[in-house]
């Protein structure tokens, strides 16, 4: 790495965040994160623990939730449905990318 260049942080399960940190970084309230956790949108590292800890990948989902909540005035239940469907779309897109990569010529039709 060249001097003066910042090393960004990975947003994955190797980095962990407290509930308060996730709330501060995303703009969601702790109550909303709790509710979305109950809906299964966020999965804490140890769901039984009194102080919930989340993988840093949850920031991306939480920020999407925060934007959707303010731009569409969605309640938590509406957010949970939307986020679950978006997650399925992302999974399917990843699967399509994998299948396209498997096609000879990258899917170019001869």
């Amino acid at each position: 790495m060249t001097k003066g260049f910042i090393e960004p942080g990975w947003l994955d399960q190797h980095q962990q965040l407290s509930l308060a940190e996730l709330a501060e970084l995303s703009g969601l309230s702790e109550v909303e994160i709790h509710e979305l956790t109950e809906y299964g949108v966020f999965v804490p590292e140890d769901p039984e623990s009194r102080s919930l800890v989340y993988g840093a990948h949850c920031i991306t989902i939480a920020r999407t939730a925060s934007r959707l909540r303010s731009d569409f005035e969605l309640d938590t239940a509406g957010l949970a449905v939307t986020l679950t469907l978006l997650d399925r779309v992302r999974d399917l897109e990843a699967r399509i990318r994998e299948l396209e990569a498997l096609l000879p010529g990258g899917g170019t039709v001869i």
Binding site: M1, F5, I6, H14, L25, I59, T64, R67, F72, R97
Partner: protein, 310 residues
């Protein structure tokens, strides 16, 4: 200052009711919201819609906007002489301010002087090559970030953020650069940058997560007799032993020869066999192929004949 027609952006008349404005915004937001839309330029389009709605949904801001009069979109203009006294918080120049920043700053300056406000986060798309993803790379990100001046007025200031994309980044991955987004106010935290990584298409390797896929062309005799062939990988060429009787579509997995993963390990490189034939066979080659055709007992379509009618 350049004029923007907020009513036109939402597709409503200038005398539209609050309910009509909200309904128009919701309809367009559903179509162009970058989190749910696949429309081309969705993000830019949504920004225009959201900017228009932020002003028109607020009674005071809408009145102030209406007082600017109707101009041609993109046209340079100045507000009427008494506009700033009626609606502005402080004295400032209209020359280098964006209409969005003007309204975003309205009747918020007082609060901003005392309240803790977190700086804005920014999502920054970063496109890198496969080689850059493999080795890691330095990028200079040119951003225009709003800052508040001493009078509380918002200004866009160009910033260059230098970041090192570590090896292991691949399409769809996000990285966070803390504190390099918008400035926080009154002790509020500075915003962050979220780098959204995309790998440019590569002429040989196709990317799926950290795995790489490639076509491996073999000459017919290499497939039949077996061969030791050179296979390119991002780390340099390796030799692969192709066994006799290799068929088209067969896959060779070169373990750990794909893209490195962020913390340890690496994806695989999957080489998929294609049987390549020459565009033009010489007279001698054609004669040899005919000789082979006559001598061969191989029936390429035996299974088709036996199973097609089942």
């Amino acid at each position: 200052m350049k004029y923007k027609d907020y009513y036109d952006a939402l597709g409503v008349k200038r005398d539209a009711s609050d309910a009509e404005i909200k309904a128009a915004y919701r309809k367009l937001a559903r179509k162009f919201h970058p989190d749910v839309s696949k429309e081309k330029d969705a993000e830019a389009h949504f920004k225009e819609i959201a900017e228009a709605y932020q002003t028109l949904k607020d009674k005071e801001k809408r009145a102030a906007y209406d007082q600017l009069g109707q101009q041609q979109p993109g046209q340079d203009f100045r507000p009427p002489p008494d506009w700033q006294q009626r609606y502005g918080d402080t004295h400032f120049s209209f020359e280098d301010i964006d209409l969005a920043d003007l309204f975003a700053g309205m009747h918020g300056a007082g609060h901003r002087r005392s309240m803790r406000v977190a700086g804005e986060d920014y999502d920054v798309p970063v496109e890198i090559t496969l080689q850059q993803a493999f080795h890691g790379t330095d990028v200079a990100l040119n951003l225009s970030i709003p800052e508040f001046d001493a009078s509380g007025r918002m200004r866009r200031v160009p910033h260059t953020v230098k970041a090192h994309i570590p090896k292991g980044a691949t399409t769809g991955q996000r990285l966070r650069v803390p504190g390099k987004g918008g400035k926080g106010l009154n002790g509020g935290r500075d915003g962050d940058l979220y780098l959204d990584i995309t790998l440019q298409p590569h002429p040989v390797f196709r990317v799926s997560g950290h795995d790489l896929y490639m076509d491996l062309p073999l000459a017919p005799w290499e497939a039949v007799l077996g061969a030791s062939v050179e296979v390119p990988t991002p780390a340099g060429a390796v030799r692969l032993k192709v066994p006799p009787g290799t068929r088209a579509g067969q896959q060779f997995r070169l373990s750990g020869k794909g893209l490195p993963k962020p913390h340890d390990g690496a994806g695989n490189l999957i080489a998929m066999v294609q049987i390549a034939v020459p565009d033009h066979a010489s007279d001698k080659e054609q004669a040899l192929y005919r000789q082979l055709a006559e001598a061969a007992v191989f029936d390429a379509r035996k299974r088709l004949r036996e199973e097609a009618g089942k």
